[in-house]
Symmetry: C2
Subunit: 208 residues, 2 copies
């Protein structure tokens, strides 16, 4: 049932408290989807494997990649560089793997500009009260941080029409959200817009 | 996980030999999808139930519906009238049932004009040889009929970009095609374009 062998590029966005990590974990475990592995200049921690947790590299290597426009995006955080290599995304997609990028709204917009065929999915709690409750549930954070996150989430709701799909993640029902995500992946593979060469291929099977 | 309660309008098109009947049967049996029940002036046959097999009506009633623009489409066939009532489609959709219409390419185009939110799915055999083989397999038909059907199918392939999705129905794998159809239905329910009022609803759950 594969109309295309190339993997999808799936961008998943969701406010803190959306539970997107749990929803994605179920999908990634199924084998044909994988997170994009970031490049970093940070030293590996015990147990971290190069190419699995991160693509570890020197600052020199990293800067060479920047100079060569090899990054989809990159940023510095606490003195270390982090970035998403285009080769990482394209390489996995060519192998038929659906690449998942977890990004903020702004990052999602950037990816859509570079990859118009990217699928943008927004994972949200079912309602405002649940969002606030989940943020407050993280006892480690101050009221100020919680308020700031709520404001960010509300502001981001304004850009919902940039996304292709909305998936609500209800309490205790992350498996349902994962199933919706899986259905979106299957449906997208059957989109006519992804099967440009289909008719040509179909007709090429005609034996005169 | 329902972002919308309204049922989808699903138009399924496929050449003779695409096996769309088998693919749809699996879906309709799942309960939340139903064929549109046609109206007809033909007399009920033994065992046929009004409202299930057809909406049976008199010629006078049928003509009144025509005059009132109640039909999505109607046609006369061997002296009897057949038609799809808009009320049949809208009534089922309002109840949250996904309405399935099996139509030719031209009919699908007409529906898309009237219902821009309709989902157009094209079911096809995996390749040309299979299509021809399936048509030839119907031993009851003459070479002329088979050739005509092949020509129609080839001509219709030219309008493939009118459709939203293509699902290939491979020999002995109609369950896979049905699963793809089911995924398309689920994904479509999560489309941002179907959840216009979503942000408003989400924010209305905010308690100040």
């Amino acid at each position: 049932m594969e109309e295309t062998k190339k993997g999808l590029l799936i961008v998943v966005t969701g406010p803190a408290g959306s539970g997107k990590g749990t929803v994605l974990a179920n999908i990634v475990n199924e084998g044909d989807c994988a997170y994009s592995v970031s490049a970093t200049t940070r030293k590996p921690r015990p147990g971290e494997i190069d190419g699995v947790n991160y693509h570890f590299m020197s600052v020199e290597e990293f800067k060479e990649h920047i100079a060569n426009n090899d990054f989809l995006e990159h940023a510095e955080y606490v003195g270390n560089h982090y970035g998403t290599l285009l080769s990482e995304i394209n390489g996995k997609r060519e192998k038929g793997i659906h690449v998942i990028l977890e990004l903020e709204v702004q990052g999602a917009a950037n990816v859509k500009r570079l990859y118009p065929d990217a699928v943008l999915i927004w994972i949200l709690p079912p309602d405002y009260a649940t969002l606030e409750g989940r943020l407050r549930g993280r006892a480690t954070e101050t009221e100020e941080v919680i308020q700031k996150r709520m404001q960010t989430a509300i502001k981001e709701l304004g850009s919902f029409d940039m996304f292709d799909y909305i998936v609500l993640n209800e309490d205790g029902k992350s498996y349902e959200a994962s199933r919706a995500l899986r259905a979106i992946i299957t449906a997208e593979q059957h989109k006519v817009s992804r099967t440009d060469s289909f008719v040509k291929k179909f007709m090429s099977t005609k034996i005169d």
